[in-house]
């Protein structure tokens, strides 16, 4: 299923943000790598931004249900723990939200 979603994203059938949420829905908080390890860097960056803006009980969507808080928390922890460059710096490029907080 993840391969199918990745293919749909790669072809252009679903957006990166759609892939982010669908991936989070499939994530087992006890084993996040099973879903996250195969995602492109850019998608993981968007997932981190989603996780940082996530508000339990206050998310709105035009689709179904938002991911559960434990899924989002597990994803955030995994990305922050594993997303480093070779020199040890955090490998995530700043998004506008993150850039504002660092200013």
């Amino acid at each position: 299923m993840m391969q199918e979603l990745l293919g749909m994203y790669g072809n252009g059938a679903i957006t990166a943000d759609h892939l982010v949420v669908e991936s989070l829905h499939k994530l087992d908080p006890a084993a996040p790598a099973l879903v996250l390890a195969g995602l492109p860097r850019g998608v993981l960056e968007r997932m981190l931004a989603y996780a940082e803006n996530y508000r339990p009980g206050a998310m709105r969507t035009n689709y179904g249900l938002p991911p559960a808080p434990d899924q989002v928390a597990a994803a955030r922890q995994w990305i922050e723990a594993n997303f480093t460059t070779a020199n040890g710096d955090h490998g995530v490029l700043p998004t506008p939200d993150r850039a504002e907080r660092h200013a």
Binding site: I14, T15, A58, N62
Partner: protein
């Protein structure tokens, strides 16, 4: 700047024949035009139920509906003033008189014109 795809996820059917991009935001957050645009293709992707492809009228109605909605959403979302709640209210079914409703009325007119065009 739009692309159409046959639904591969099995989420669509006779009751929901097409869908645009999924948008998730915290309550009161703003929805931007860029939230609908695919970062690689630069297009807004729509998925359609495979069943509509069996009928010319269904194809015209569904694509017409989605295009009507999108073209009226475009300036609103580019203004940067539309909240996620407003976006959902405009585009969800079951909200009489909203953009989604008007888009189906437009689709009905398209099909009527199509049928008249067939009459000789």
């Amino acid at each position: 700047d739009v692309s159409f795809w046959v639904d591969e996820l099995g989420e669509l059917g006779p009751g929901r024949t097409a869908c645009g991009p999924r948008v998730d935001k915290p309550d009161e957050a703003i929805v931007y035009w860029a939230d609908l645009v695919h970062d690689r293709t630069g297009k807004v992707p729509f998925r359609v139920w495979e069943g509509i492809l069996k009928s010319d009228e269904a194809i015209v109605a569904v694509l017409g509906h989605e295009m009507y909605e999108l073209e009226r959403l475009r300036p609103l979302l580019k203004s940067g003033k539309t909240t996620i709640g407003e976006f959902i209210a405009m585009t969800c079914p079951g909200n009489p008189g909203n953009l989604h409703d008007r888009a189906w009325e437009f689709a009905d007119r398209l099909v009527e014109q199509m049928r008249k065009g067939r009459q000789v």
